[in-house]
Amino acid sequence: MTAAIEIENLNYRYPDAKRPALHDVSLTIAQGEWVAIIGHNGSGKSTLAKNINGLLAPESGRVTVAGMPLNEANVWKIREKVGIVFQNPDNQFVGATVQDDVAFGLENRAVPRPEMLTRVHDALVQVNMLEFATREPARLSGGQKQRVAIAGIIAQRPDIIILDEATSMLDPAGRSEVLALIEQLQARSAMTVVSITHDVDEAASADRVVLLNDGEIVEQGTPAALFTHGEELLSLGLDVPYPERLKAALRRRGAKMPDGYLDQEGLVKYLWTLHSTM
């Protein structure tokens, strides 16, 4: 498997900041992989995202995207390969209408108009927003705006999509709407997905979870492996999936619980076997 993103010993410090925002971060993400980067607010998650496509320039270290080292000469080529959906649905909506916004990235890349028309149309079909093509952003819900942002990225046909807390400002309906769409897209096109989040449910859909704290990678592994460290996640300001919380509560009451991670269904089954052998 080829690497979509390779980060080696990345350091980044905001101007005038005492502590570095990222410290010696190394991370390789394979083509087609879905990686969730979790950490509390201020842990450096979003800074990492901005370093991947050159919105911020690292103090030291190397970033390679789709085989190209990130530098002045390559930065625009790399941005063509990496689409980012940002946190605030309103503040990334450039176009005056849905279709204009989806076209914005294509206009920037001087895609000829006939091709632009088909790409905008196809992208809107994929995010199920075609009937809203001529709507103004003020008349869309947060979830719909994020879907438009995703359409704008799909239209550019990138290899990698980064969700920079893209669901954190949405209501539960909007959140599941966007998550379902990403799952669908990833299954269909084998796009590499990097989701930056503090939502455990979002992290649970990833292939791999990377835990970031104070600008350093503390741990990484499959969601199942990581979620068994319940106490550690809580101490780092994160949530744990509900089954882990219930297991901990039962353990405190003296019940014997398995060490491995169980999802809801797994836990229900396990508890039922205990009940049956009573």
Partner: protein
């Protein structure tokens, strides 16, 4: 604010709505120009009829146009009064010191009134039938020749487009902040001038802070989506002249000829 900038567009599919925005923009300016050629009853009558035909073609109720006149009414009446009282000539109907109402004064007053109303009707017609965004496109397209003089026309058009797009967002934010400050005991729109000015500070500062936040986010998003300045971009929205636009041009030419024949 919304009323001024956005609330004015009335969606529709009339002949006027469907004209190219460049045609409408140029024709409006041209029409306002030739109104100044009118100088007698015949020519004013002609222009009045032409304006009414355009209004009818837009299928928009006359009331919307009259509403456009309302905010200007005092300025209009003031100008008309000046004309009435200070134009000398013809029979004098009434005089008091250096003030006099004369025959010429009354006609001139009527003409000026007519001119104002027609100009307002035509510009109202433009904004009622054209989306602000299309107008921005038209301005960009018409100003394109200025690029030779290194005027950043495309950038200006993008700035204008983004400004229009964020008007509702900022309006929304304004309402929210006003509510928050009212809940903290601020009375907007009451008290003397000084108190009212003071009440605006807790509204303006958060609004500025918020606008800067939006601008920063937006710049980052545009950067990430490959925006590198105005040149070398293609356009998704394109304007195209149709047969209607030629017809509109002919009508303007015909009107001009008729005016020149009829004017004194």
């Amino acid at each position: 604010m919304t009323k001024l900038l956005l609330g004015r567009y009335l969606p529709g599919d009339s002949w006027v709505h469907k004209l190219d925005p460049r045609t409408k923009l140029m024709a409006s300016f041209y029409y306002i120009g030739i109104i100044f050629l009118a100088n007698n009853w015949q020519t004013y009558l002609l222009m009045f009829m032409a304006t009414m035909v355009m209004v009818a073609a837009s299928k928009i109720k006359l009331g919307f146009f009259l509403r456009g006149v309302r905010p200007m009414i005092w300025l209009i009446l003031f100008t008309v009064m000046l004309q009435v009282f200070f134009t000398k000539g013809g029979a004098t109907y009434w005089s008091w010191g250096w003030l006099a109402i004369t025959q010429y004064g009354l006609t001139n007053g009527a003409f000026i009134f007519m001119r104002f109303v027609l100009i307002i009707f035509v510009s109202t017609l433009l904004t009622l039938t054209t989306q602000p965004l299309s107008l921005a496109d038209a301005v960009e397209s018409l100003l394109k020749p200025l690029r030779v003089l290194h005027v950043p026309v495309t950038e200006l058009a993008l700035v204008l487009q983004i400004a229009l797009r964020f008007v509702p967002t900022l309006m929304d934010q304004t309402t929210k902040i006003m509510n928050a400050q009212r809940a903290r005991g601020v009375d907007f729109g009451s008290g003397n001038l000084f108190q009212q000015m003071k009440a605006v500070v807790p509204l303006l500062i958060p609004l500025f802070v918020d606008s800067f936040g939006i601008a920063e986010d937006l710049a980052t998003a545009m950067d990430a989506r490959g925006y590198q300045g105005g040149d070398g971009r293609t356009k998704y929205r394109v304007l195209q002249y149709h047969r209607k636009d030629i017809v509109a041009g002919m009508i303007m030419a015909g009107l001009t000829i008729a005016l020149i024949f009829l004017k004194a």
